[in-house]
Symmetry: C2
Subunit: 162 residues, 2 copies
Amino acid sequence: MVGHDKTGARDKFLKFLATKNLRITSQRQAIVDSVFSTEEHFTAEQLLEWARSRDKSVSRATVYRTLPLLVESKMVHEMDFGKDYKFYDPNYSDHPNHHHIICQDCEKIVEFESEKIDKIENEISHKLGFSVASQKLQITGNCEELKKMGACKNHPCSTHGH
Amino acid sequence: MVGHDKTGARDKFLKFLATKNLRITSQRQAIVDSVFSTEEHFTAEQLLEWARSRDKSVSRATVYRTLPLLVESKMVHEMDFGKDYKFYDPNYSDHPNHHHIICQDCEKIVEFESEKIDKIENEISHKLGFSVASQKLQITGNCEELKKMGACKNHPCSTHGH
DNA sequence: ATCAATGCAAATAATTTGCAAAAAG
DNA sequence: CTTTTTGCAAATTATTTGCATTGAT
């Protein structure tokens, strides 16, 4: 869904910058607007493309320097899907406790939430002497196509320049 | 616990090599023996050290070439803890469905299992059209020391050459 | 013998960084 | 004006790879 509105998250991030006495440059705006116009997971490279389509002057270095700010402000989460580059998930601002299930073959990703799981996590953590700050649950499995056909038509996302 | 016995896992791995017509070299033995004598998570670099203390001739390249075999055979799992190098967990052969809880500050890691979580994961995955192949749950939280003192004495593991 | 496995050193590729110039407040 | 931010290009660093040689079967 292109153009998904996350005005709230955007504002929170700008406030975060203000709090830390960081400046709202045109490049940061292009980057942030790109991030908050998608629900897709993205890579640094992909974000660079999106941001450049809004503002030609955005450099790779600025993307790499802005990403940690987005992560620190909790507006975006860093994800590892076993590739040699990182993915970023912009949906944690709307759904702070969501989980992922990924098809082994086509790498289709579905997000879901579960209060039951949240509850058990809290209970167990408490027993072990911890309080929960955040969590990541990633299930790897077989999607319907893979189960039925033995393989998926759409193999690894060829949508980033990797 | 140094010297923890995982003879079963070791044998399974050697069988795995045989099945694929791969050879049991002295270097692979040193590497594999190192892996199955620990319950600690380790890095490639750390494994190189351990293996070299058994067999001087082990090279970094061989460690990096053996690790994927250990992962493919499911004797070891690749883990991402947000660092720029990977960790490997040798405990999946004994506890195939265990989870991790990590202290935000000192990075102490505790492993745990939960049938309840396993069950919910299966139910939800099924509803979403998936079957479960494997899962990774990582909770980040505050350990008792961090909660009580506001900081932990033992900061990031300085035990690997990073 | 045959073919897989090794060490070495060079290559790869994502991410980081130093620096002088440009822009924000 | 002062301080942060930028783009660029060079540096960094974990991991991978080509190749000639060695070792397992």
